[in-house]
Amino acid sequence: MRKYYALFRLRFIHSLQYRAAAAAGVVTQFAWGFMEILAFLAFYKANPSNFPMEFSHVVAYIWIQQTFLAVFMVWFYENEIFEAISSGAIAYTLVRPIDLYNRWFAQSVANRVAKALLRSVPILLVAFLVPPPLRLSLPNSGTQLLLFIISFVLGLGVVIAYTMIVYVTTFYTLSPVGVRIIAAMLADFLAGAIIPLPFFPMGVRNAAELLPFAAMQNMPLRIYSGNIAGVEAIKGIGLQIFWLLVLVTLGRLILRRALGKVVVQGG
């Protein structure tokens, strides 16, 4: 366990170096969140009765989504891992006494959390200070906040477990960049990255809420905003745990099979 922690720390500190880029990123993300909320405001004004979530829920959803973009969005792939697989550097990693899946998992966690942390504080600060109705608010109760934190951690796990599956399938296909984009966009769309799941047409929404993607950002964001609370939240967290276990198991299985027949590219 100690070696994973060491790896995590190294990666984390490395990612924290990119401060200037993070500062610019904050402005970008803030502007993005701001515009998305304004768009939803326009739709709300068009037909308030048909709006499936409380407007304050949507506001909180979008701000927290922007704040923790690096955590929730599948498309923040670890390019290093893709390179390692396609360049053959993987051979070096394999001789080390560390489980590959765990190593990559720890690396991904560190990278995403570091990136998110760098940007989160400024975005949150501003989001708490803008005039209502665009203002972010805290969850209704301590329990809600606690449930959010649990759901957040699980969501991060599910996102990474999914990316792990994308990485390991590269062993078999050396998949082109396009395929990774499609895999990420599909996941992010069904996770509620483009529009929150309650805005989907009924039938599609019901199906989507059961998929693993809903366990990525849909659940934590809706728990924070209060859209899902109490028993519903606990059931949602249960579903997240289920998908986390399934995706991790699947990822490990494919990796083990792939390593059994790895073909190293290049010398």
């Binding site: 515009m35 326009a42 082109p176 966009m185 529009i195 047409p201």
Partner: protein
């Protein structure tokens, strides 16, 4: 073009990215009949115009994305000693045809939206639409040029320009008026994206009969002046970082 499969999948990937945007709009409109008086096909007109203008500009303009690197590793010096126009050299190095994924999508959306938008397609309306796309393309290209120009002065913190390029495209999926008065003013007087997307749209839909609205995109072309000036300024004050 050697990596045919890769090329195909990248185009498909680009297509998927704009497709998810489109899907989002579709879902929202299946629930809300209209927004700010604009119906679904009318919003699609907007979406397709912006997408088409952006994807053509991007084919050439994305080369500027790597401009900061060219500056910092000294590759730009090589460009300077060649007896050819600087801008065309930078662009030709990285023409990117994979952007055709977005262009294809724009075409498909136009095919769907044009007959359903309620626009009576007389000659003046057709001209307006062409003006919108062509001028939009030039304005987006100027934004890419501005990005490169700014990188002469600072490498750090360029990411905010992204709000205007990729942001301009994403937010442009709806008429810029829905974001409120202040945003519309900014996008009219500071970065004239609304001049090619919103005001001529009003003319197309017959809401504003004045010809000023039809020719608004040409006003947007004025943006080329500050963009190009900034580029020249950056170029002349460029002191190589050495190789």
């Amino acid at each position: 073009m050697e990596y045919k499969t890769s090329f195909f999948f990248t185009i498909l990937g680009q297509f998927t990215v704009s497709f998810t945007s489109l899907l989002g709009i579709w879902f929202l409109f299946s629930r809300f009949r209209e927004v700010e008086g604009f119906s679904f096909p009318q919003v699609l007109l907007c979406f397709a115009t912006v997408l088409m203008a952006f994807s053509v500009a991007e084919c050439f303009g994305r080369a500027f994305d790597t401009f900061p690197q060219m500056l910092s590793n000294g590759a730009f010096d090589r460009v300077l000693v060649r007896p050819k126009n600087v801008i065309s050299q930078v662009l030709m190095a990285k023409i990117d045809f994979t952007r055709f994924g977005r262009l294809l999508q724009a075409v498909l959306v136009f095919i769907y939206a044009l007959p359903r938008s309620g626009v009576v397609w007389t000659w003046d309306k057709v001209c307006t639409l062409i003006l919108m796309v062509v001028c939009g393309c030039i304005i987006f290209f100027c934004l890419f040029l501005t990005y490169a120009a700014i990188s002469f002065f600072t490498i750090e913190g360029l990411e905010f320009m992204n709000v205007l390029t990729d942001g301009g495209r994403e937010f442009g999926r709806y008429p810029y008026s829905i974001y409120g008065e202040d945003v519309l003013k900014f996008l009219t007087y500071v970065v004239p994206l609304a001049l090619f997307q919103y005001y001529p749209l009003l003319y197309l839909l017959g809401r504003e009969p004045s010809l000023w609205y039809m020719f608004a995109p040409l006003g947007g072309l004025l943006f080329a002046i500050p963009s190009y000036c900034l580029w020249r300024w950056g170029l002349t004050s460029y002191v190589s970082t050495g190789s």
